[in-house]
């Protein structure tokens, strides 16, 4: 019974991931982005859980719980850790207008399909079909990094990129050994914390977190 | 041994001949110009007079003012020793190699230039500067014409060259040889400060080269300087004569041959002197900064001579 809905489930999760990524590019409100990020974390955790159940690996289920706690709840909470009132006002004014951005998103998605098809060969496995989504998320995350002006929006981009990588690794190789998975998550967590601290310092020093005012160091 | 005898004869002959040559040149010129002239022995008298005066020297002048004239004379005398004028029997170890001869001549040039500078006046420096410039620009013509002469003989040893021309006269009138001879003559005119490069007659600062250098010299210094340049002129004219008309030069030693050689070279030199002075009457001195053009022309001749002798022969 599970076997025949398994592909649908995979497809669903992957679709959710891609959708959330695209929405992140579209929406400019920081709060919305953070919420989307949380959704994406949950979707990723679900994906891992599905794969784990399908492969019958209890280890993967553990991992999915880890992901849920870190990506789904922990990081978004950290990002949103601020009086909701102030965070509502924060509107991103991106360097790239939404239409162009969304068009780029589609292009990047197509590119990732091409690449993955060449690298993995379009195997009949549903995971193989879903894998391009991960690469697309990586590229979209990069796009966010390039196009967002605010520190924490860049942070979100970075996290999106990271989710993408996680998605790919899970879809292609059923995840790396559990110990390393911990290490990776820890690293990401620390990086995000550090960036968060820096963003705080930035606000105290420059009275704002607009990254593109960091132009003092140049040749 | 024979070489020594010939050398001695040549030196003695030319020491006697050189002033006479100058006298002849001046006398011919005077006669053609309709002046009485002073006779061909005047240079002798001048030298004797100068030798019998106390030279006047500047306090700042160095030993160069004394040594320079000697060096000039010695270099000219060496020319008389080395060149095949009377006979073509060279020394074993110092054959009359044309490159050596040219550089021996250059010793005299340098000595004269330094004497000019040593005077410590504007004139001396000016003359010396112009003199050296001309000498520098003449060098290529000189060496290339030598090169051209050396090709048929297969050596740069002058006595051999003269002998080859003696044995096979058709070489002489070959275009190559004619070109080379003309180039060499122009070079020699420049080296010996004759018209059209320099005017030995005047003391006008715009024209002076040679005279400007010896302006500060006096007494025996001046005398030796004059003698030196006269000897040089005579010897080089003798060379041209033997290259153009090698007959009469002594090739294997004999008393009679020696006499013939002496007479023939005397005649050649004096005839050339007459030709020279006649020519100089119809020539005007060119401007200093047209001299390079003249020399460039002669260089072109010499270069043509060499390459032609390769590609024709």
């Amino acid at each position: 019974m599970f076997e025949n809905i398994y592909p649908q489930l995979i497809g669903l999760c992957a679709g959710a991931l891609l959708l959330t990524s695209a929405l992140m590019v579209w929406r400019h409100s920081l709060l919305a982005s953070i919420r989307l990020l949380a959704l994406q974390g949950i979707a990723l955790a679900a994906l891992v859980a599905v794969i784990g159940i399908a492969e019958g690996e209890s280890e993967l289920v553990l991992v999915s719980l880890l992901i849920l706690s870190v990506k789904g709840i922990g990081l978004p909470w950290v990002l949103a850790y601020q009086s909701k009132a102030s965070i509502k006002q924060i509107q991103e004014s991106p360097r790239l207008n939404p239409t162009a951005a969304l068009l780029t998103v589609t292009l990047l998605t197509i590119l990732s399909y091409v690449v993955v098809s060449r690298v993995f060969g379009l195997g009949d496995s549903s995971t193989g079909h879903a894998a391009p989504i991960g690469l697309a998320m990586v590229l979209i995350g990069f796009l966010l990094l390039i196009s967002r002006r605010r520190a924490r929006s860049q942070l979100i981009g970075f996290l999106l990129l990271d989710n993408g990588i996680a998605t790919i690794t899970f879809l292609t190789s059923g995840g790396v050994p559990i110990l390393l998975e911990f290490a990776f998550s820890l690293d990401v967590l620390l990086v995000v914390l550090i960036l968060h601290v820096f963003a705080g310092r930035m606000r105290t020093k420059f009275g704002g977190t607009a990254v593109d005012q960091l132009r003092e160091l140049h040749d | 041994m024979n070489a020594v005898i010939i050398a001695v004869v040549q030196v003695v002959l030319f020491v006697f001949l050189a002033p006479v040559l100058i006298g002849v040149i001046r006398q011919v010129r005077a006669t053609i110009e309709g002046r009485a002239g002073v006779g061909i022995w005047q240079p002798w008298r001048d030298v004797r007079k100068l030798l019998a005066k106390n030279p006047v020297r500047a306090t700042d002048s160095s030993w160069m003012l004394r040594a320079g004239p000697v060096a000039l004379v010695v270099s000219s005398l060496l020319l008389c020793v080395l060149l095949p004028l009377v006979g073509t029997i060279p020394f074993a170890l110092v054959p009359s190699d044309l490159f050596v001869i040219v550089s021996v001549m250059l010793i005299g040039v340098v000595a004269l230039a330094l004497v000019g500078l040593d005077g410590g006046t504007a004139f001396g420096g000016m003359g010396s500067s112009r003199h050296m410039t001309v000498a520098a620009l003449v060098e290529p013509t000189l060496l290339l014409s030598i090169y051209a002469f050396s090709i048929p003989a297969g050596t740069s040893t002058l006595s051999v060259i003269v002998e080859t021309r003696l044995l096979s006269p058709e070489v002489i009138i070959s275009p190559v040889s004619v070109l080379a001879l003309v180039a060499l003559s122009i070079a020699i005119m420049a080296e010996t400060a004759r018209l059209p490069i320099d005017n030995p007659g005047t003391h006008l600062e715009v024209t002076m080269l040679h005279e400007a250098m010896i302006l500060e010299a006096s007494g025996r210094d001046l005398a030796w300087l004059e003698v030196g340049s006269w000897l040089k002129l005579a010897a080089l004219l003798g060379l041209v004569g033997n290259l153009a008309v090698p007959w009469g030069v002594l090739t294997d030693f004999s008393a009679l041959g020696l006499a013939v050689g002496v007479v023939s070279i005397t005649v050649k030199v004096l005839v050339l002197g007459v030709v020279l002075s006649v020519g100089e009457i119809f020539l005007a001195k060119v401007r200093l900064f047209q001299v390079p053009e003249l020399l460039a022309g002669s260089f072109a001749l010499a270069f043509l001579a060499v390459t032609a002798s390769y590609l024709v022969a």
């Binding site: 993995f120 390393l180 990776f184 960036l195 040749d219 | -």
Partner: protein
């Protein structure tokens, strides 16, 4: 034997903890020195072990020290020692809270780099490399000025994004190993020739991993963080980053290369690394011509040298001994230069080349070592960088990369000229204010580390035994049969 492997990890961590304890002001300033000495000693022990044919292993095969790792860990220790010792802070300044965290982070940084070179697993190594970013983030931002904050932000974002790309690549490689029946991330197993890994995956994985680690190695076009971070970090930190962090990333690239060469042959990475190396040289040359800041000048010189090393890696086994020798020479000299630059910055109070004039007349105590180290870094003998460069160039022609090497030489000439000009502007010439000054002969800090570093680089190239053997063994580890 295998316990030695734990020293460079546990030692620094313990010292880091110590420095965080209250009431350790007196000892605190020596934490960095002690940590790097621990690493150095462990490295030398491992080297001797390796030279005796042993390959220490522990932690269930997670930690492993073959010739290459042993060499790298000693380099980390040596350079760390020079940088920390040379930048030893004054007793007074070490009483603050900042100083504690500073020393602790230095120790942490050393531990992370040691782990990176000792790990026998790409994954663990990746984690360690990322850990170095985490450890150095606050070190770069140590001064808490706006500029250092900016540098730190750029460093962390660019660095971790790059390393994330590497992670993607590693994921592909792992996928390839999953494709075979033995899923693994261990060097030793991945670099067995009979594994039958999927070429397409390895190509993609290798390319992405190299691209990612190239970011940490400061290769163009991923280099952008480097000049800012190096110019803003405290001098010892800049020395450590430029001296070894870059090389550790290069070590990662070497390991990846040893895997891909077996599966898809050297051509692909050779092209990629040649392009990267030449680009780095080009960037360094272009931005050195009219450089204004002497710490940035040193940073770009690091990019240049990493570029040349990358070309050496591209050339392959024929050049690898030179590259490894290069790592040591460049590390020591660059650490020295950064230490001295820190002292110049302290006494002159300006990072601008235009404001530092006639240093040789005014401050011989700083200018003389500065000039000697400069001579060493531009590749004058007897310093070992000369031999490394000559070795790489010669090897390049012998494997048919003549075009690449030739282009590299052209760029190196531009770099040399620019470098000479800038150095001369700083040090030589008559003092501006004419008379009325007394030459300052003090070195403004410990002299011994600088002398040690210069002496080592001047002599190491002539020590055929054991250095030569070690380099050969390390090359052999990477599948080179030179």
């Amino acid at each position: 034997m295998s316990l030695i492997l734990w020293i460079p990890l546990v030692g620094p961590l313990a010292l880091a903890g110590l420095s965080l304890l209250p009431g350790t002001f007196a000892l605190r300033r020596f934490v960095g020195v002690a940590a790097s000495s621990a690493v150095l000693i462990a490295g030398l022990l491992l080297v001797s072990a390796v030279l005796n044919g042993a390959v220490p292993e522990t932690g269930g095969g997670m930690l492993r020290a073959d010739a290459l790792s042993a060499y790298m860990i000693s380099v980390v220790g040596a350079v760390g020692l020079i940088a920390t010792w040379g930048g030893l802070s004054s007793a007074a300044s070490s009483r603050t809270k900042d100083a504690a965290s500073y020393e602790a982070l230095i120790a942490l940084f050393l531990a992370a780099m040691s782990l990176a070179v000792l790990a026998d697993s790409i994954g663990l190594m990746w984690a360690a490399v990322e850990a170095t970013t985490i450890a150095t983030a606050f070190l770069v931002g140590h001064h808490r000025t706006g500029r250092s904050l900016e540098a730190a932000w750029k460093y962390v974002i660019l660095g971790s994004v790059g390393v994330a790309i590497a992670l993607l690549g590693i994921g592909f490689i792992y996928a390839a190993s999953v494709g075979t029946d033995t899923p693994t991330l261990s060097w030793v197993q991945l670099s067995q020739s009979n594994l039958g890994l999927d070429p397409a995956l390895i190509t993609a994985g290798g390319a992405l991993a190299v691209l990612g680690f190239a970011t940490k190695a400061g290769l163009a076009p991923m280099h952008s963080w480097l000049p800012d971070a190096h110019s803003q970090a405290p001098a010892p930190v800049s020395g450590l980053m430029s001296g070894v962090l870059l090389s550790v990333a290069l070590y990662a690239i070497l390991r990846i290369q040893s895997i891909t060469d077996l599966v898809i042959g050297p051509e692909f990475l050779r092209t990629m690394l040649s392009v990267g190396g030449l680009l780095s040289l080009l960037v360094a040359a272009s931005l050195l011509i009219r450089q204004r800041d002497y710490k940035r000048m040193l940073a770009y010189s690091s990019i240049e040298h990493m570029g040349l090393m990358a070309i050496g890696v591209a050339i392959g086994p024929a050049a690898l001994p030179s590259v490894l020798l290069y790592v040591l020479g460049h590390g020591l000299i660059k650490a020295t230069l950064f230490v001295i630059s820190g002292r110049i910055l302290k006494v002159e109070g300006t990072p601008l080349i235009a404001d530092v004039r006639a240093l040789l007349v005014r401050r011989p105590g700083l200018a003389v070592p500065w000039l000697i180290a400069m001579a060493a870094i531009v590749g004058f003998p007897p310093f070992s960088i000369f031999f490394s460069e000559v070795g790489i160039i010669m090897a390049g022609w012998s494997v048919g990369l003549g075009g690449v090497v030739g282009a590299a030489l052209v760029l190196l000439l531009v770099i040399f000229a620019a470098f000479t000009r800038l150095t001369v502007q700083m040090t030589l010439g008559p003092p501006a204010n004419g008379v009325g000054f007394t030459p300052d002969y003090s070195a403004h800090g410990p002299r011994l580390p600088i002398i040690l570093a210069l002496a080592t680089t001047a002599t190491v190239a002539f020590v055929a035994e054991p250095v030569g053997t070690l380099l050969l063994q390390a090359t052999a580890v990477l599948g080179g049969s030179n």
